[in-house]
Every structure is written in C-alpha cells, then in structure tokens.
C-alpha cells in the first residue's frame, strides 16, 4: 500500500487543492490521509473496489475536517514553478495552468472537485460517486453543469 499511496499522492494533492484552495494545507491533508491509511490498513478492503477512489475519499474527508477547523483560510493558489527545461514552453505551460486554476477558482467547490476527479484524475463515474459520496446517477448531470460553468469561466477569462 505504501508505494501505491506515493503514486496517488500527486493526484490527491491536486484534488485537495480544489477543496482547500491552498497548496500547503492540501499537502498536509494528503499526508494526514496517508498516515491514516497506513496506520489502519484494515480500513481498506480490496474486495470492495480499487484503492484510488477509497483513498481520495479519505483525503476529501480530511480536507473537509480542515475546512471546518479553518474557515477563515481563503488563500488562493499560487502559480507553480515551471516544469520543463525549455523556458518558452515552460512559460506557456505555466500560463495555461494558471488560466485553468483561475477559472476553477471561480467555480463552487463541488464543481471544482467533480471536474478535477473526472477530467484531471480520469476517474470513472462510479469511482466519482464513491469519492464524493453521491448517487451514481447524479454524477453525469453534475459533471455536465460543472463543465458548462468551466467553459463559461474560461471564456470570460479570455475576454
């Protein structure tokens, strides 16, 4: 489980940022969730489904706990450092990422979460319903509303 959690860490961090709006808090939340998962390995039953949605749900629970404890924290996400060695492509990637994050920031948290789970982390609808604890039948409509809101947010940003 240790290595699988490390593999899931990056995606879980991106997901947690959408809930908490802060990279450092999100990293702490993911690390707390990892500690919880490792200290209680029996809580996860592989026969019930894959680890990924289960772990993201633990991360989400931890984020919601943090939100309840730190209602005043509204710090926005900073732009990330450049990823590639080529300065021009790195700058373009940074601008692209920044636009996406700014557009996401304008959406309600529930829409940010479902968008990131589907379009960024590539979870299926059944897995999303597990992570968000919503009926599978509502995932598609919520996701579609979130996508439309995101399109609008990006269009407004371009204008």
């Amino acid at each position: 489980m240790h290595h699988e959690l490390i593999r899931l860490g990056a995606g879980a961090h991106a997901f947690a940022i959408q809930i908490l709006g802060n990279r450092d808090d999100a990293a702490d939340a993911v690390q707390d969730a990892m500690v919880k998962a490792l200290s209680a390995p029996d809580a996860y039953d592989a026969r019930q489904g894959p680890l990924k949605p289960w772990f993201y749900r633990v991360v989400r629970n931890r984020c919601l706990d943090l939100l309840r404890g730190r209602r005043s924290n509204t710090e926005t996400v900073d732009a990330l450092p450049a990823a590639g060695p080529d300065p021009e492509s790195a700058l373009a990637a940074e601008q692209r990422d920044s636009e996406i994050q700014r557009a996401l920031d304008t959406l309600p948290p529930a829409q940010r979460q479902i968008l990131v789970l589907r379009d960024y982390l590539d979870l299926g609808y059944a897995e999303i319903s597990v992570v968000l604890d919503i009926p599978p039948g509502t995932v598609m409509s919520r996701l579609h509303r979130a996508r439309n809101a995101m399109r609008e947010a990006l269009n407004n940003h371009v204008k």
């Binding site: 240790h2 940022i17 969730a33 200290s39 990422d97």
Partner: protein
C-alpha cells in the same frame, strides 16, 4: 434556432458529457449521435467539451511529484518509528523508576521527607503520562476515518 431545437438540446445536454466520457448505454449513445446529425450547435458543444477535458487533463494543478511524496512518506515512517521508540523508552524508564521508588520507600535509611519528595516527583510524572494517554484515547475514539469503507 427554433424553440424546439433549444428544448431538444436541453434534453440531451447531460448526455453529452456522458458521451465523451464513454459512460452511456448503447441506446443513449445512438440518441446523441442521431441528434448530432441534425444539430450543428450540439456538434460544436461536443467538440468544446472534448477540448475542455483535454485542456484540464494536460494542465498541472499544483501537484507534487512522486519523488516529493516518497520523501514525505519516508518522513512519516520516521515519525511513526520515532513515536514507537519514545513510547517504549518512556515506558521502560517509568517501569525502572517505579521499581526504584518502591525499593526506596521500603529503605529504612531514608527519612519520611525524602520519601515524600521522591513520591511527589514520580507521582507527577505518572500524572503527566496518564493525561497524555487519556488525550490519545479521546483522539482515537473520535477518529472519523476508522470506519471509512467503500
């Protein structure tokens, strides 16, 4: 665009997301494809949704890479090991101290005052230990993650 077209597109709206995600039944897929044959706006919507999904998927949303998480996890392992080590060390120390105190209390060569001081010191340490254990027990009972199941 007529009102009928708009209504039709509203009806099919949610299915567009399901369509690009391959989450529809065969019947629903056919319904979307049939609609797209006659509706240019819906075809455009589909393309925009695909482009949006691709754009989000290719972005980098504040993630730390696997190496960073490996370091954090190692840090976590070190902290857990250290906590276990400290618990064993303090437990052993208290046991040794308790044995020492009992032997002192029954030592006739130490006066009553000396015995009271020794009892006070070790009584205080025991109180601190009990308060820490009590706090840990309360945290454990209120742990919301212990029942997380799929």
């Amino acid at each position: 665009m007529s009102n009928d077209d708009t209504k039709h597109r509203d009806d099919i709206g949610d299915l567009l997301s399901g369509y690009i995600d391959n989450e529809l039944t065969q019947q629903e897929r056919q319904r979307v494809e049939l609609h797209c044959e006659d509706c240019e706006q819906t075809r455009k919507d589909l393309e925009e949704l695909r482009a949006l999904r691709q754009r989000i998927g290719q972005s980098r949303l504040g993630e730390l890479d696997a190496g960073a998480w490996g370091e954090r996890m190692n840090d976590t392992s070190v902290r857990v090991t250290a906590a276990i080590g400290w618990t064993l060390f303090i437990g052993g120390l208290l046991l040794a101290a308790g044995t020492f105190v009992v032997s002192l209390l029954f030592d006739d060569q130490i006066g009553v005052f000396g015995k009271l001081v020794i009892v006070g010191i070790y009584g205080g340490l025991a109180g601190l230990l009990i308060s820490v254990l009590r706090q840990r027990l309360i945290e454990r009972k209120s742990d919301k993650y212990k029942n997380v199941r799929i």
